[in-house]
């Protein structure tokens, strides 16, 4: 059975991804644009993620040990180099919402010994908690360090009764020893895609949003279906001249803001960031 499968599908089994036009025939490819000029660093997205995805509150001691579980975190930088260029941050701080980049060629995927993390047909980097044995190789290999490991049995302490009533029934509560990370609110996508499928259509643009995108007060996060050329996210990718299948983007002119973080590592992320704009003459 598997042998004939192997022979029949040999060509597709031997294809490297991403390639140009990979999602042309696919119904979905989830992607995001984060406008760093709009992001104000207010933490609405991070709290929304805690609420939606049953992220445990770990407490001061464990946070201090670096065992926090924030799938999306707001990073605040004071500059691009390695020191302050002036005495004060004259042009403000640099905020960066960092979450799983849902890389098309995710470094975390090939190294998992049990295949607990792999790529879904709609372009998500999935994490199968049940399959995870906790080798943490994915995290070691993730250049963005956005994978979070259950160092403890967080559910023991994170939701003292009745806080556990808030837990989202659509999202697993993870036990100790498994890796977890941003899923692009997989449960919302799943429900939406299933609903659309029963109705014989594909999801409309904006019909399903991730919790962070939905909460973001400045709408800095745009989420959508890249396979749908008319979706806002696809138009933004095109407008910003970012090609999913390229590891360096050629821009037709200066001043086009779209870029992907650590793209030079050939990870082909699904999140495009738009450069923060500052009136440097002010």
């Amino acid at each position: 059975m598997s042998l004939s499968n192997l022979i029949q599908n040999w060509n597709s089994f031997r294809t490297r991804r991403p390639y140009e036009g990979q999602y042309d025939d696919a119904p979905y490819k989830w992607a995001m644009v984060i406008d760093l000029d709009s992001c104000i660093g207010c933490n609405a997205c991070t709290v929304a993620c805690y609420a939606e995805n049953n992220l445990p509150v770990v407490g001061k001691e464990r946070f201090g040990k670096g065992q926090a579980m924030h799938w999306i975190r707001i990073e605040r930088y004071w500059g691009e180099g390695d020191t302050m260029t002036s005495e004060f941050p004259d042009h403000g701080a640099q905020y960066l919402p960092m979450l799983c980049q849902q890389c098309e060629a995710a470094p975390c995927e090939p190294v998992c010994p049990v295949g607990a993390t792999h790529h879904s047909p709609d372009g998500l980097n999935t994490q199968v908690y049940n399959r995870c044995v906790g080798s943490r190789y994915c995290s070691a290999n993730c250049p963005y360090k956005v994978r979070y490991f259950n160092w403890w049995n967080y559910p023991d302490r994170a939701w003292p009764n009745p806080l556990e009533l808030q837990l989202n029934p659509d999202v697993t509560v993870r036990s100790k020893g498994v890796m977890e990370k941003c899923t692009f609110c997989m449960q919302r996508l799943r429900a939406g895609m299933d609903k659309a499928k029963t109705e014989g259509r594909i999801l409309a643009d904006g019909e399903v949003l991730t919790a962070c995108a939905q909460a973001c007060p400045t709408s800095a996060i745009t989420f959508g279906n890249l396979a749908d050329k008319k979706s806002k996210v696809a138009r933004m990718w095109k407008n910003q001249q970012v090609d999913l299948a390229k590891d360096s983007q050629e821009k037709s002119e200066e001043g086009i803001r779209g870029y992907r973080i650590l793209e030079e590592l050939n990870t082909y992320p699904s999140i495009v960031y738009l450069e923060r704009v500052r009136n440097l003459e002010a």
Partner: protein, 175 residues
């Protein structure tokens, strides 16, 4: 006809070699050189000329192992990858060759080793029972010559063996 056994123990390898030489040149009937077994604490390749050809076939098993192991291994791995719900990982092909080669290489060695070990035990007839004419001193520092022959040839053989200062001659018809 039922064969009888005799075992002579020597302290000195040269004497044992002389005894073997004499046995071989005696040309007597009722016994063949293939039936002569030398038991020693170490390997004595220098005696092989006297004992005649004693071929070793282990390497053929090894060859079989190194051919079959990696082939079946590669096919199994690739089939497993193909049957694993079409999982693309890190943009790599579902059936990627370099990692599979690594595993194939390990399987090549593993099957080679296992077949060699298997063949060795078969060839050495192990596990097996010791012959009744085993003497513990051959695992210490003595050399034993065990001869299997027709019962009527045994006295003559014992005589030849006895000419080369044996420490002891044991057997069905020992002195």
């Amino acid at each position: 006809m039922k064969k009888s056994h005799t075992l002579a123990l020597y302290a000195d390898m040269d004497e044992a070699a002389n005894a073997l030489r004499e046995l071989k040149s005696s040309g007597m009937s009722g016994f063949r050189m293939e039936d002569v077994v030398v038991k020693s604490p170490i390997d004595h390749p220098e005696l092989s000329e006297l004992l005649g050809p004693r071929p070793v076939y282990i390497q053929w098993f090894t060859l079989l192992g190194v051919l079959l192991g990696p082939t079946t291994g590669l096919v199994l791995i690739a089939s497993a990858q193909a049957s694993f719900i079409y999982q693309v990982r890190g943009g790599r092909p579902v059936v990627p060759l370099p990692p599979d080669m690594v595993l194939t290489y390990e399987l090549f060695i593993l099957s080679g080793v296992l077949m060699t070990v298997l063949a060795t035990f078969v060839a050495m007839k192990l596990p097996g029972n010791r012959s009744p004419l085993y003497n513990a001193s051959v695992s210490e520092d003595k050399i034993g010559i065990l001869v299997k022959a027709d019962p009527q040839s045994i006295p003559q053989i014992n005589e030849i063996l006895g000419r080369h200062k044996p420490l002891e001659i044991m057997g069905d018809q020992a002195r």
